[in-house]
Symmetry: C2
Subunit: 428 residues, 2 copies
């Protein structure tokens, strides 16, 4: 089975936005056992979109098109594809009602041009959009001679499917999971079982991960295990996949090997983020958390509060950017700041202990560091960070050197801080 992905949007080709759909959809499809064969981005112009769709339909069994379903004049995907496939557009009453309700619930008047989003090509399946107005559309296509002429592959199975998804990620992602995945499972069942498991490690470099697990996995690789690595700032994902009757057994065996080697560094599985793991562990243990952030500037609190249910365990935090805020809100002593400097083990400890006491929390994490580009010294160069964790056990502190530009520096430091707490919670 061949899948092609077409991302429409002139803003993509003007470089104004990053194409996150590609990674997200390719990743989701790969985890389901379907690897995308080709991805194409084209501008919002009729000839470009139609040509890309025609070409893709000449090759692929499933074509996914993103973007261009909105209400404005450059949202032309729906019309162009209906025209290309020779299908009439009809106003769908259920969709129109959904759009009207969407605006009513937000107490906003519905602009007149929003009714175009309720136009549905005849025979199309509607993919509901609870997070926006434009529904997704899935169309089953019996290959027409027009597309077969251009066909570069010899065996195109019928029927093909063409799926249109809205551009905003918060609309596209749940729609894909809720409506496209069931469609895929029904229309394109896998010939053989496919199993995929991702183990997420923190604090180990990519080549170190590969160097340590490649030799002990060699026998399983010979049996059909595929091992992939994906490095991000401060973390490496190990992706184990296998296909065939023994897929489950092979992947499980691989997981056991990776667990034996990196057990303590594996913070989560599949799509789990470290903040989700930390919130889950704290909730299970009925423990609360407070934060004292200097160089991460609220980045840790922001990640923790992205997790639904965080309010059960998160009491709050202080972003103590100015030194006076460290004294006033966290009780850091002026003398400690003077003697050791704001970026020091001693200040990190006092910040964590102060936050724990003042919020009345079971645990408190504190970070203080030099994000740069200025502010470094020979003893404490740019990138130096101190991370402290306070609890009933006392206070522990770690020193790191995170040599990244500002945003990556904050991200990595937040990851390390959450990992320090996670490891403590996992051991306790």
């Amino acid at each position: 089975m061949e899948i092609e992905l077409i991302n429409t949007g002139s803003e993509l080709l003007l470089g104004r936005v990053l194409n996150t759909h590609q990674q997200w959809l390719c990743r989701r499809l790969a985890d389901l056992g379907h690897v995308v064969a080709r991805q194409i981005a084209v501008p919002d112009t009729a000839t470009d979109i139609q040509q890309a769709v025609r070409e893709a339909l000449a090759r692929a069994d499933l074509v996914i098109v993103t973007g261009g379903l909105g209400p404005t004049s450059d949202d032309i995907t729906r019309d162009l594809i209906a025209q290309l496939l020779g299908k009439k557009l009809r106003l769908n009453e259920a969709v129109f009602t959904h759009i009207k309700n969407y605006f009513a619930a937000r107490q906003r008047p519905m602009p007149a041009n929003n009714d175009v989003q309720a136009m549905v090509p005849e025979g199309a399946m509607i993919l509901p959009n609870p997070n926006g107005t434009a529904p997704g559309l899935a169309i089953q296509i019996l290959a027409t001679p027009k597309f077969q002429i251009e066909n570069t592959k010899s065996k195109i199975r019928n029927p093909q499917w063409l799926v249109m998804l809205p551009g905003p990620p918060r609309e596209l992602r749940p729609m894909f999971d809720d409506a496209v995945v069931p469609l895929l499972r029904r229309e394109f069942p896998l010939a053989a079982p496919f199993v995929c498991r991702t183990l997420r490690t923190g604090g180990v470099g990519e080549s170190a991960v590969q160097e340590k697990i490649q030799p002990p996995l060699a026998a399983l690789v010979a049996d059909g295990l595929e091992v992939g690595y994906c490095a991000r700032v401060g973390q490496v994902d190990v992706r184990l996949t296998a296909c065939g009757a023994d897929a489950e057994k092979i992947v499980r065996a691989g997981e056991v090997v990776v667990q034996q080697i990196f057990g303590a560094n594996i913070y989560g599985f599949d799509d789990e983020e470290i903040e989700q793991v930390v919130v889950r562990l704290l909730t299970e243990k009925k423990k609360t958390l407070a934060l004292a952030e200097s160089c991460t500037g609220g980045g840790i609190a922001n990640r923790v509060t992205n997790v639904p249910g965080a309010s059960a365990i998160f009491l709050g935090g202080v972003v103590s950017y100015a030194n006076s805020a460290k004294e006033q809100f966290l009780g850091v002593r002026a003398k400690t700041l003077q003697q050791h400097g704001a970026v020091s083990e001693a200040v990190a400890c006092e910040m964590a202990e102060g936050a724990r006491e003042k919020f009345g929390a079971d645990f408190a994490i504190a970070v203080t560091g030099i994000a740069g580009p200025t502010g470094g010294s020979a003893e404490k160069p740019v990138g130096t960070v101190f991370i402290a964790l306070a609890g009933t056990f006392g206070t522990v502190v770690e020193r790191k050197l995170n040599l990244y530009e500002r945003e990556a520096f904050k991200q990595l430091t937040a990851q390390q801080a959450l990992e320090l707490l996670r490891q403590w919670l996992a051991r306790a």
Copy 2:
């Protein structure tokens, strides 16, 4: 002139990495007046790469291929393209010396397979790589009958160019600026000036933006103005472009029209984010900021501290998730919490005033709201937010209804809070 971009790499189609080359190269080219017509990602397989290159050469004047120039077995782009164009590969002594020196300078032995990176297709121009081993390559192509057969456009100008760039961004980016830009300027001078301007609006829906500006822009559109819209949570970018001798004049006239209609809602231009605008305005006015965040959970502080130089104006913030934290750190009165509830105009005001006083800041922003999915009531449904701004002028407060899932809710609320301050700073 037509440009196509081909990104090679199986990891792109497995969704393991984000394709940042697309945005970066498209943006750079757009700034030079060249809009990429199509971008394609294909896996590291011979047939896919050759087919994509053949198809692109049948349409485009310039084809840029990224990735696959490294030393490992899946780096096959150089060989495949030389083969496709019928060009022999020859070891280039200068490149080979560069590679040997590169390893020597790092006191690392040169792996044997690195010499393949010194193989250069005959007649190719070498694009030096000071940041890595593999050079880029630029090949001038006289269209051959083979490609012309597939040609879907009528006028392909000769000569075409094919440019190959290495995958790592730290190698690709300087190479593009230092070697490809001069090549472009020499080989593809612009026929007419190209002007692009983006106005970023907040607080107006996408269809409302279009509804209001389309009629007054109609005359300019007839003169060649192109108008594009890009909607994100809480904001809509309006992109005005024109080409030709009058491009500057047409775009400026368009900008005046949009300014007249949305003046107060335009928070920035081109790539400027609202937090950058706020930090810039506060820095110019020598004013300081403090934050009191409840439902945004540190999201505002995180954005503000992403801006280099934020420490000059940002004193800090309190993430007061628990009610007790609102009392303890911000001085919100227990009585106010009891009478009005944590999500109320009165509490938002006391939070802002408390943060302003305790941090000793010129301005303080406070947000309190119900992110959901639970916690709503008939009077204050899920999505209700109060945003307060305190300053020497007193305190203002706004009520919003932000019906989005958790992360988008936080993002939109942060955007609105920063917009409230920006509008105040712009007026003052």
